[in-house]
Subunit: 74 residues, 6 copies
């Protein structure tokens, strides 16, 4: 299964995403993903040092600025 | 709905955009967006620490330097 | 009007461009732009803290390292 | 053998990957790779100063934010 | 004249190139350029604070990591 | 000769490569290169302040994170 298929399989589930920039970690429910790994998350929260810092709600993440994506198991 | 469609739906509404660089946050009314997520905002303001720092007016943002886009609900 | 058209409309006028890197701001007259938002500016000056630091003359800017472009009204 | 073929040959084996960002090194078993060098690793761990810092499990790495990939010999 | 044509016109002449990374400025004679603005310079020198720091000889620069290109007039 | 051809000509020879990130310099024998300037090096070493810091062996470098490539003359 190619990396982008692995991400598509996580649609409807929680993912954790590390972005470029200030040690940015976001967690949310994955609504959609395209071929560039642009992501649409809902109920997204920003996480700093393991703590929820801020609720972002619905957010679109630009794929080329994603470092890594971790499906969150429940 | 793919991530870029989610952004297109925000045309005419306010969006908040986090750019690469100096913790750059911009807020403005989305006029247009293309497939690279290049954005054209009007009435854009630069926001630092939650305060409006500077009015930029009409501004074009390069898509690959966008970290994330948040539609602002009113 | 798509974002790149907005930039094309500024050909012949002054634009301010924020680049990645050291808080780099350039101002000059836009001579040409292509689909990648690569820009050719003439009479370009580098601006630091609102002061003109250095004249660069004719300069080509790589589109993917542009953060944002602001048409300068006169 | 082209660079991406060299990476494909490592499928099923351990690789060490250096990412952009905070001196990020990840080690895991390579499950898949695509033409953009997006990687899917399983049993991934984050390594800081030669020590395993954190277990990440299954993780997708965005290719354009990879600095280098080293196949780990056993 | 599109930005890449402006660069092609400088083949055989000196150019100054600012790269991403450590305030990297390179000066050399432009031998070739492609559509991605990858550059081949000869007699290249690295410049720091306006001083020639190091001779690099023949060097290939990756286009997407170029901030700007200035043709050097003699 | 286009920049990528200049790099292809160095196959089988030593090259020095400056990467994005922590002032990363790598030296090794170039085994292969593709159109994105992804490189496969063997007998690669990491160089810091002109000293060999670490042997990496066989390594794949992501082209878009390469700043510059210098063929090393013997």
């Amino acid at each position: 299964m190619f990396p982008n298929k692995k991400v598509q399989k996580a649609i409807g589930s929680k993912v954790q995403v590390e972005m470029k920039g200030d040690h940015h970690i976001l967690e949310g429910t994955l609504k959609s993903v395209d071929d560039y790994l642009n992501l649409h998350l809902v109920d997204a929260v920003e996480i700093v040092d393991g703590e929820k810092l801020r609720s972002l709600g619905s957010v679109v993440l630009r794929g080329n600025n994603i470092i890594l994506i971790i499906p969150v198991e429940n």
